[in-house]
Amino acid sequence: MLLVPGLVTALVALLPIGYLLVRTAEAGPERVWEIVVRERTLTLVLRSLALAGTVTALSVVVGVGLAVLATRTNVPGRRLLAVTAALPLAIPSYVAAFAWISAFPSVSGFAGTVLVLTACCYPYVYLPVAAAMRRIDPAVEEVARSLGRSPWNTFWSVTARQLRPAAASGALLVALYALSDFGAPSLLRFDAFTRVIHASYRSSFDRTPAAVLSLLLVAITVAITVAEARTRRGSERARVGGGVARRPHTVGLGRLRWPAATLAVAVVTVALVFPIASLLYWFATGLSSGVDVPDLATSALNTFWFALLGAVLCTALAVPVGVLAARFRGRSTAVIEHASFAGHALPGIVVALALVFFGARVAQPVYQRTPLLVLAYAVLFVPAAIGAVRSAVTMSPVRTEEAARSLGSTPWQVLRRVTLPLAAPGIAAGAALVLLTCMKELPATLLLRPTGADTLATSLWTETGVAAYGAAAPYGLALVVLAVLPTLALMRSQRAGETDPS
């Protein structure tokens, strides 16, 4: 009975990629092949992979390093480090790019993009690794020590082994992010896949190259997503009995305490302090020449309105799929769930482009109107909403639902009277997260927003494009404030997860 709405969700999620395939097929195989084997295309692939590889490697080094410092050493300011190390997550990549290029125009190209993306992405490694580090049962390390291993040997042979799944899944997220990100490479003028796709769409009436390049990018991101899903399996721990594991041991750094602290401060400065300072500087500069308050208010209102619609649609689409995934496992459910996660592997620019084609050709009445933009948000962010619904429903105990069944409730009534009321807070939190994510979204909003309607992200983009940094800064600040909220919520939920052993 939930299958039909679930199927609708899957179809919505598959629409962009499906339409892109149709468009590409129309061009004919020779034309497609001709575009794929161009020398320019090959360099583009290599350049993007080099970017993703470099950013990922640096993010792993920085993320794991900070996680170890913050959780297992006596580095000065450990608690402060634990909080601030995660905060760069709250700075959208294009805001960070704005902050750097407005201060140092020379920060551009490959090096600049690597710097900005690493600063934005390392928390994807830091957060899961730090959480895994806190969850490690110290008894396992004690056993290793009592069997004659040195502390250093124990770290590599026992502790690091247990961190590997967390670090690997974080690293793959970083790679996915670096490949899909549109804002930072574009503002920093590095010809990554996303920037070239956008340029090719803008510069030519023939949209086939843009479509082919999009599919090529999707092929790479899908491969990464599959790899990411693989790493999530098989990281269960065996521990007899409940109860809370004892706190892990901390390692004394000795003479390295202050050098380690200096390194940590450097990272936080690059990733957090400098961008904020730069934003504030330009904000102050802009103030003296007058902030355009009506424009800012209109942008904020537009942002909120589009995002609200996106969050509502995402949640409505996510509930059937999330409930199916949590409670009614089966082949058709698995197919629907996987299909609905298509947006997870699709870069925003690709979804946007596909819907532009779709709107211009098929859905003319909603082209450059709100519904098409909201649809893009739904495709991109329904996976996040499904994840929230699924975990909220999974938390509602099966035994409780069985008690309801034995008291005469049909499965449908159990869903309405027990499961959904219990899951409601989790679903609402998911909706809020989607709302805030929609508000930060750049490429789809840029391409699909109704004519003349600017949002915070597009205003920042436009003003930065013409080097009006003072005018751009208020939008950047507003976006950072918006993004801080879900980041804090995420950190709180991670902390709650630690104190609750279940």
Binding site: T400, A403, A404, R405, S406, R417, V418, L422
Partner: protein
């Protein structure tokens, strides 16, 4: 006053059989305890009766209505069988009244007398507005029972409902549950691994092992006349003596002891086997007494109301026996004499 009848029930998880032909009859209005070690299939049996495990074969009937049979599988909500889960599993989003009223028809959920009635029955009158997280473990289990009883089910299933409670609380709540079930006349099945609980609460006890019911009888019969050594060992401590049966008595290390053949004792030709005695059938006497077999006290566990004394016989290659005494406790190292009171059960070797 509904009766439950289970016939030839088979169930498995994947390739592992869990139930291998369970037969069980629970007369209307009685409480039957299903007793067995963990992994014996008792919880699976309960869940199959409730409708959450689909058996491979066999039938389940309540009041002669077929619930499970080849081609029939009545969904749980239409069975009229209420469940009291191990952890209570109250609905955390509803208050006590909301929980208890959950299974009532819609028009009776608000302002009906029924909620107050059953809450009073379980000793929680006045708790209607409390939230589940404000209740102690014992109170939560009382609410879970009230919730199960409220819609007047044909059968109540209790899945180890007391195992998560403090030992001190268990006695009181067992008695209260017994009273509440009796007051409503409900037919009930209690699954437990606790011998004390089964023997003290139930009208009949079904001892399960390895996916089948080994014995189903009154608590007294199960304790004093177990059908085989497995059942005998599971329902209480046992003293097992190698024995030779000779008419109505058996020759053992404790001398000639009156013996009754166990139920599955086959053929008159089988004469060697085991004589099973309960520790309270053995008596300790001072060494100076003439009667009994000499022994030395090896260990004493004092329980308050009684004590268990381990003694080693001075002859017979130092056989070790458990004796339950209520009198003055012997000290380790004391020399004593052991006698036997009442008949033992004889199980032949190749029964």
């Amino acid at each position: 006053m509904s009766a439950l009848a289970v016939r030839g029930l088979h169930a498995s998880f994947g390739d592992t059989p869990v139930l291998r032909g369970v037969d069980l009859d629970v007369p209307g209005g009685t409480l039957t305890a299903v007793l067995g070690p963990s992994g014996c299939g008792k919880t699976t049996l309960l869940r199959a009766v409730a409708g959450f495990v689909r058996p491979d074969s066999g039938t389940v009937l309540v009041d002669n209505q077929v619930l499970v049979a080849p081609g029939t599988d009545v969904p749980p909500e239409r069975r009229g069988i209420a469940l009291v889960p191990q952890e209570g599993s109250l609905f955390p989003h509803l208050d006590v009244a909301g929980n208890v009223a959950f299974g009532l028809p819609r028009e009776q959920r608000r302002g009906s007398r029924r909620v107050a009635e059953v809450l009073e029955l379980v000793g929680l009158a006045g708790y209607a507005k409390r939230r589940p997280d404000e209740l102690s473990g014992g109170q939560q289990q009382r609410v879970a029972l009230a919730r199960a009883l409220a819609p007047d089910p044909r059968l109540v299933l209790l899945d180890e409902p007391f195992s998560a409670l403090d030992a001190g609380l268990r006695g009181a709540i067992r008695a209260d549950v017994r009273t509440a079930l009796a007051a409503t006349g409900a037919t009930a099945v209690l699954v437990t691994h606790d011998q004390d609980e089964a023997l003290s609460m139930a009208d009949t006890v079904a001892v399960m092992d390895d996916g089948v019911v080994r014995m189903h009888a009154t608590p007294e019969q199960v304790y004093t006349g177990p059908v085989d050594l497995g059942v005998a060992r599971f329902v209480g401590q046992l003293v097992e003596l190698p024995a030779r049966l000779d008419g109505t008595s058996a020759r053992t290390v404790l001398g000639e002891v009156a013996a009754v053949p166990g139920e599955r004792h086959t053929g008159a030709g089988e004469r060697t086997g085991v004589l099973a005695l309960r520790p309270e059938q053995l008596r300790l006497h001072p060494a100076e007494t003439g009667a009994g077999v000499p022994a030395r006290v090896e260990a004493v566990s004092f329980h308050g109301h009684d004590a268990t004394v381990a003694v080693v016989l001075e002859e017979s290659a130092g056989a070790r026996l458990l004796v339950r005494t209520t009198g003055p406790t012997a000290a380790v190292g004391d020399r004593v004499r052991v006698t036997v009171e009442g008949p033992g059960l004889f199980f032949a070797d190749h029964a």
